[in-house]
């Protein structure tokens, strides 16, 4: 699903966010990406969504070489990936419901389907009661759940979650993880970026650890050890 070969990302001549990173994630895998702040995790995510271009190396997603993807093909790529951003990236001028449905509408999904799918997904993340609120009227955890709902709504083949449990209490975090697990069981590849030791340790899934832009360990049934 994801193949990186010798990927380096240099922001400024002196900031090397990723250094010669190679990794392969198979279709349907559930992978944790862990590492200290500034290790380059979010940079990796931005490369996968073509928000940034690699300085060198090649990247492919779902068999599609996106290393030098054309600008007009970028929307197509993003519609196949769901991303929960670290800073949520919700549209302030749209309600919860509209934020979620927007991801479907940009794909050209018929309105009839939008009307049925959106409430279902909002129910999954427990926000059906707050569908008509604006992001500013929600708590941080609730905003995060909106972001998750939006990332799921178009049934992406790849779901990337950058710190999706960061602002949540243990119980809510567990619910979110259960949701993501279920999504993964349905065949969606999951890349889960987190600092949360407990989550990583209890799940016993593949764990990729990064430090200063490099992969320092990649274990199939790993633990959070940094």
């Amino acid at each position: 699903m994801i193949v990186l070969e010798g990927v380096t990302k240099q922001y400024h001549p002196d900031t090397i966010a990723l250094a010669d990173v190679s990794l392969t994630i198979e279709q349907g895998e559930f992978v944790f990406l862990v590492g200290m702040s500034g290790a380059g995790k979010s940079t990796l995510v931005r490369l996968l969504t073509a928000e940034e271009r690699a300085t060198s190396g090649t990247i492919s997603v779902g068999g599609w070489d996106i290393t030098r993807i054309a600008r007009r093909d970028v929307p197509l790529l993003r519609r196949q990936i769901g991303v929960v951003y670290q800073d949520f990236k919700l549209l302030e001028q749209k309600t919860v419901e509209e934020n979620v449905s927007f991801a479907l509408e940009v794909c050209g999904e018929p309105s009839k389907n939008v009307r049925t799918i959106v409430p279902q997904v909002l129910k999954i993340v427990g926000l059906e009661e707050k569908a008509h609120r604006y992001p500013r009227q929600l708590s941080g955890g609730e905003q995060q759940r909106v972001a998750i709902a939006r990332a799921l709504i178009h049934r992406p083949k790849l779901l990337i979650a950058d710190e999706p449990t960061g602002d949540l209490d243990t119980l809510t975090a567990q619910t979110i993880i259960d949701v993501l697990m279920r999504i993964n069981d349905l065949g969606t590849t999951l890349l889960f970026v987190t600092h949360n030791k407990d989550v990583v340790n209890t799940m016993k899934r593949r764990v990729i650890s990064m430090q200063e832009g490099r992969i320092i360990s990649d274990k199939l049934h790993g633990k959070y050890f940094i």
Partner: protein
């Protein structure tokens, strides 16, 4: 296709209402700009009209001699009309002159009585000549003063007004030049204001634009609602301008009436008659500037 069209329209309205404050500010600035543009339009019209009224007052009246042969007069009139400098000739026969005289002094018993006693009509026939342009009176005068015609012409009334005409001409040319300069300068400032207003509007949306891109929206899907929103701004500001301009003119019309005593300038009629041109071109200009400005402004934020 229709679905996405509907969505684009819906989004544009949502943007418009949910950014009510921003929309209000944008429309206010656009309206203020348009109002000053229209003030300028009115000023221009007024100026043109005053030049025209002054020009219209200028003419040459040639009075023919009582003894003049009709053939000769006809020949004179024919060559006169054929002159490229002449805009119009208005012939007044002796009878018409008398009739005019009569009606002018309708109330004066004394004059009416003396007219009754007359055996012959003492009034000469005449022709009123208007030139196409003010500076062409010179050549017409030269033509009239040709010795050939002195036998039929008693006198002409164009007493040395050349100085005045020259001045007027100069004023007109200068005024046009200054007017054109000011208009261009003003249009540039107005355009700059519109462009920057739209840029500001887009700038406040840059985060939103970036997020839409990250969710997988195409550039067109982001541009189209913003473009439509610009159209709503344009419609609103032009409508608002119309709603302000007409009552304002009505208020000031009495003052205009004082300005030109004999033939008052009807500003309201001017704006109504040229409604399509005036407001249509303003709308077109605003939409054009809007499109250009937003196209350039969004471009930067679409590169996510």
């Amino acid at each position: 296709m229709i679905t996405s069209f509907n969505r684009i329209i819906r989004f544009s309205f949502q943007n418009f209402w949910r950014n009510a404050w921003l929309s209000f500010v944008t429309i206010s600035i656009l309206t203020l700009t348009l109002l000053s543009v229209n003030f300028f339009v009115a000023l221009n019209a007024l100026f043109d009209y005053s030049l025209l009224t002054i020009e219209e007052k200028v003419n040459i009246t040639v009075h023919f001699q009582q003894t003049a042969q009709e053939n000769n007069v006809k020949a004179f009139l024919a060559s006169l009309s054929a002159m490229p400098d002449v805009a119009s000739t208005e012939v007044r026969t002796k009878e018409e002159a008398l009739e005019k005289f009569r009606t002018t002094f309708k109330g004066d018993q004394h004059i009416q009585e003396s007219l009754q006693e007359l055996e012959n009509n003492p009034l000469p026939s005449s022709v009123i000549i208007r030139a196409k342009e003010i500076q062409r009176y010179d050549s017409i005068l030269a033509f009239i003063n040709d010795p050939r015609y002195q036998g039929i012409i008693e006198r002409q009334t164009f007493v040395d007004r050349t100085k005045f005409i020259e001045r007027l001409q100069e004023l007109k040319i200068n005024a046009r030049r200054i007017g054109a300069g000011v208009t261009i300068f003003f249009a540039l400032i107005a355009a700059l204001i519109v462009v920057n207003t739209i840029r500001m509007t887009i700038f406040t949306r840059r985060r939103e634009v970036g997020i839409m891109k990250l969710v997988g929206a195409t550039n067109r899907f982001i541009r189209a609602p913003l473009f439509l929103e610009g159209i709503w701004y344009s419609i609103a500001s032009v409508l608002l301008t119309i709603l302000i301009v007409f009552p304002l003119i009505s208020t000031f019309q009495p003052y205009l009436n004082h300005l030109f005593e004999n033939s008052p300038f009807d500003m309201l009629a001017y704006f109504s008659d040229n409604f399509g041109i005036i407001f249509g071109s303003q709308f077109a200009a605003i939409v054009l500037l809007n499109t250009l400005a937003s196209f350039i402004a969004i471009g930067r934020y679409l590169k996510v």
